[in-house]
Symmetry: C2
Subunit: 583 residues, 2 copies
């Protein structure tokens, strides 16, 4: 039984940065080669970054990707790395027309290639294209119809891309039919809370169906609303976890696999589902097996809170850094939302790069000012105070506002103040809104919604509180000062835009609200179904109406890391003008 | 040869308003029946409105649509209208699974039904699903695989939905194979500049391919970013225009058509492309032909400027009205952009519902203040002046801003002022940004980008000027006062955020800029191709860089009527974090 040392490179490319991403492929391949790998794999579209969205429709970008791939193969050879085959995702073009979506030959495709001895020895396109949630792949790509198999060191390795294993049939079934010894899948699978379990179940099932081990390499890092958690994994045909990479960090996952010898299935064979077997011989003979396999590298998945918090930190760090900024600005109210956002920012880019400003009004309580200052003291971030009374008086003198107009004015004065400091000093602003608020429209356009990124926009208020407590506990376990003041954790939430205001004046208790929101948003349950589950019809009607009418505000909100099935980004597209008001 | 009186109802449904839309179907059917129609057709998804976007994924909405359809059939019968068959689009469910996108049986479909004698006598789903530009139909729907044919009064009428005729083959070819006497297509085809010509060419070609006349009924009105221009049309198999409805207004288009007698193709026959012929007999015998056909109703298409201007007016009216507002608020600078927006608003909802405010700063010229007041005087809209000096001084006193931060502050103070008046008085704010500005990021987040709708966000600056001049000329032809002051038309564009500033300080001349933008955005040409066409490489590099880095601002901009192939809405989806910087 041949033994193959497989290297899965869990990398963090930047969309569009072909030069930087190619550099990373070389760097990781060198590490893998130095570790004795026989086969190296990088994630889906690791050369272009993922998802490239409508950049895929720009012909000059497709050509640049194709050229970068050829250059990369040559460069690997030049640098003495040509001997180890590298599987890497890139943006390519189809050779034939695709009728279902009316795409001519030459249309873009989500491709992968095998690079070997300075050349591109195999190219293939994703077979199944996801077109739900955050995915629009029928918009960008036409599908491929091959089962690529590379034969090296006496083993047949079938190749697939991400969605290819999420749907029944296709390359998984074809891998079994072809009698391959390993199914290697390159992925760009975005993080969702608890996704690791789902993926593990999936790869186990698919390995069993393919009748061979399955190796799954995933992206890591952040791209706009998406976060990638890595957690690359290798399972045996029997479902045993043979290797697993950590979450939220770049990693080289090595696994020594004892694999069945190559079959004699013929190149060109047409398998079930119409997939054509395309075999590429890479040679290498039956390799001299290493005497002892490497000790298995099996990282443990994070706990729920640790995983979600890490996703928020990673999303924030990636967005700030990849957009070329070095520092952030946050309005600190003394409340739990901005406190958690500040803690995330400190963990993402360091307290020295986090600037906060307290902007009290006449309605701000003394404890709010104190709590904001206390958080700054505990974390060491930069802190200043700018009262908004002079600006408020100038507007009130000119306009004589009342009620909601007066409340929103305070929030907008703070937004304008943050942007002024941002423009003057070069920080980008982080918006503190949570998912419960955004769901019901309990935020002020151009006020607390101001910002380039919203680190907790996909986090319900009840989870905000859990994460804040968890972060403090972690600090205590480490013997560090908990970042978030106890008073911030304990006081009732309030926007402090009028005297003695608390959130529960106008909203249900957050635990109740979040449960109803979860049913309505995540589960897409209708009003009647939620009422039938035992909730007060008046509350449900009110929540449904608020959610339906807040679409405009949500669409104007900045992006933020997505952690749930349905965030408020491109994964959820609803009309603003919407006459449907019954759930 | 039987003669059929066909009624195409070019209607303006509101997305989600099932009750209101059903009411409209009854109202238009009554008009058609009173005019002696034998067959009535309403547009694609006229019962739900179009596009419903992710409402399609909400099971309770799909069920409500299906129930509304059954109710509608019964109601037509109750109101004495059951005798005339009505073809109407709705949101339905598939009977079978669709493997390509992994959808189970019961998944949503873009459907149409034929209602007759109180019952739903035929249902079918769109065969080709568009998934480009503004369309995401593989996200929402699974395709249908029938060729529905209704036989009435001795004629076979084949039915299709929108994209079914934009792709080769499919229902058009099958209609020819089935020997139908008429191909009736219901549509939700969004407006683009010059789209009428494209559609006319298409329906002529498809009529020839089907070998029979083709009737095309389209939506009219506005839905968020989309505008529908109607322009329903009937052409003969030889391509002659037999009837055409006007643009941008609801209309009943009647046409008496002499059609070939029904063939004897069998129900259940499988035609080319795998489409199954499903025939529904509606009876009616060979009808007593009306002695004289109606005189043909053939509306003339509007000129380029008239068409674009009407689209902007219609989009604005629909957005304001369908979202339940009665009045708008606009910041009037005295410049051309806000002047055109004000003229559009006055034409859309009447001067009595248009409120404007001049918000001069120390850098505002006297002519700007005068020009704003003059526009108000000419149009009769509500006008007030609120200087921003007190607010400006309050911020500058606290922060001591300079440069861009000081410039942006002025714009944001105005945004906050507009929102304060909006919240106090209940108007919605219109944003004055044009496409050239948005393309290069020459606008201020939370400043001049404030608003619920941007009437000219898809109009390049050079076209803004042409439309303004055109609108004045129309007024002169009608003997009315031209709304836009001549000085506003003639002066060099300036943001007036610092002394003696003009736009050409920081941007190329708009005619040059717009030409480069058009190549880069509308035509997706790369940097090298644009340079090769003869443009200054330094200008092209600069423009490309500006466009690529302004994605965040554009995504935060409010929706506005789309008039081009690529607006800045959901038809163009680019990453914010984008390392691609070479076109």
């Amino acid at each position: 039984m041949p033994r193959l040392r497989l290297a899965l490179c869990q990398t963090d490319p930047a969309v569009g940065d072909l030069a930087g991403n190619a550099e990373a492929v070389v760097r990781w391949t060198r590490r893998a080669a130095e570790a004795g790998a026989h086969l190296v794999a990088l994630p889906e579209m690791a050369l272009t970054g993922y998802p490239v969205e409508d950049l895929a429709l720009r012909g000059s970008f497709v050509e640049a990707s194709r050229a970068a791939l050829v250059d990369l193969a040559a460069r690997l050879e030049r640098e003495g790395l040509g001997g180890v085959p590298v599987v890497v995702g890139y943006l390519g073009r189809s050779g034939s027309a695709y009728h279902a979506t009316d795409r001519p030959a030459g249309s873009p495709q989500n491709c992968a290639a095998v690079l070997h001895h300075g050349r591109v020895v195999s190219r293939f396109a994703k077979h199944y294209l996801p077109n739900h949630g955050v995915f629009d792949e029928y918009r960008w790509f036409s599908p491929g119809n091959q089962l690529p198999v590379v034969s090296l060191h006496g083993v047949d390795v079938a190749l697939a891309i991400c969605q290819d294993i999420w749907q029944d049939g296709g390359r998984v079934a074809a891998t079994g039919e072809a009698g391959a010894g390993l199914l290697l899948v390159i992925n760009g699978s975005p993080y969702e809370r608890g996704r690791g379990e789902v993926r593990l179940d999936l790869v186990r099932r698919r390995a069993a169906e393919a009748g061979c081990p399955l190796a799954y390499v995933n992206l890591v890092g952040g791209q706009d609303e998406l976060v990638f958690d890595g957690q690359s994994i290798v399972v045996s045909a029997e479902g045993e976890v043979l290797a697993r990479a950590p979450q939220f960090e770049e990693a080289l996952l090595l696994a020594d696999l004892d694999l069945p010898a190559a079959s004699d299935r013929t190149d060109g064979l047409v398998l079930g589902g119409g997939l054509q077997l395309v075999r590429t011989e890479l040679g290498g003979g039956t390799n001299g097996r290493p005497a002892e396999p490497l000790a298995p590298q099996i990282a443990e998945p994070l706990t729920d809170e640790a995983e979600v918090y890490a996703a928020l930190v990673e999303g924030t760090r990636a967005y700030v850094r990849k957009n070329g900024f070095g520092s952030v600005l946050i309005g600190l109210s003394g409340g739990i939302d901005s406190a958690l956002v500040a803690a995330i920012a400190v963990d993402a880019i360091g307290a020295a790069n986090v600037h906060c400003v307290s902007m009290p009004s006449r309605y701000s309580s003394q404890h709010s000012r104190d709590d904001a200052a206390e958080l700054a003291r505990r974390t060491g971030l930069h802190f200043r105070t700018v009262p908004i009374a002079p600006m408020f008086d100038a507007y009130m003198g000119a306009l004589g506002l009342t009620g909601l107009a007066e409340e929103n004015l305070q929030s907008r004065l703070r937004g304008t103040l943050l942007m002024a400091i941002s423009n003057q000093e070069g920080h980008i602003v982080l918006a503190p809104g949570n998912k419960s608020e955004l769901a019901v429209g309990y935020s002020t356009l151009y006020g607390d919604s101001v910002g380039a990124y919203g680190p907790i926009k996909d986090v319900y208020k009840s989870l905000v509180l859990r994460l804040a407590r968890w972060r403090n506990e972690v600090a205590e376990e480490r013997g560090e000062v908990p970042p978030i003041p106890e008073n911030t954790l304990d006081k009732p939430p309030s926007a402090e835009l009028r005297p003695d205001q608390v959130d529960t004046d106008s909203l249900p208790d957050y635990d109740l609200l979040d449960t109803v929101l979860d049913a309505y948003i995540e589960d897409d349950q209708g009003r009647d179904a939620i009422v039938a589950a035992g909730f007060d019809p008046a509350v449900v009607d009110r929540v449904v109406r608020l959610v339906d009418t807040a679409e405009f505000k949500r669409r104007q909100y900045p992006p933020g890391p997505r952690i749930s099935r349905k965030g408020f980004g491109r994964d959820r597209r609803l009309p603003i003008t919407n006459g449907w008001r019954r759930g």
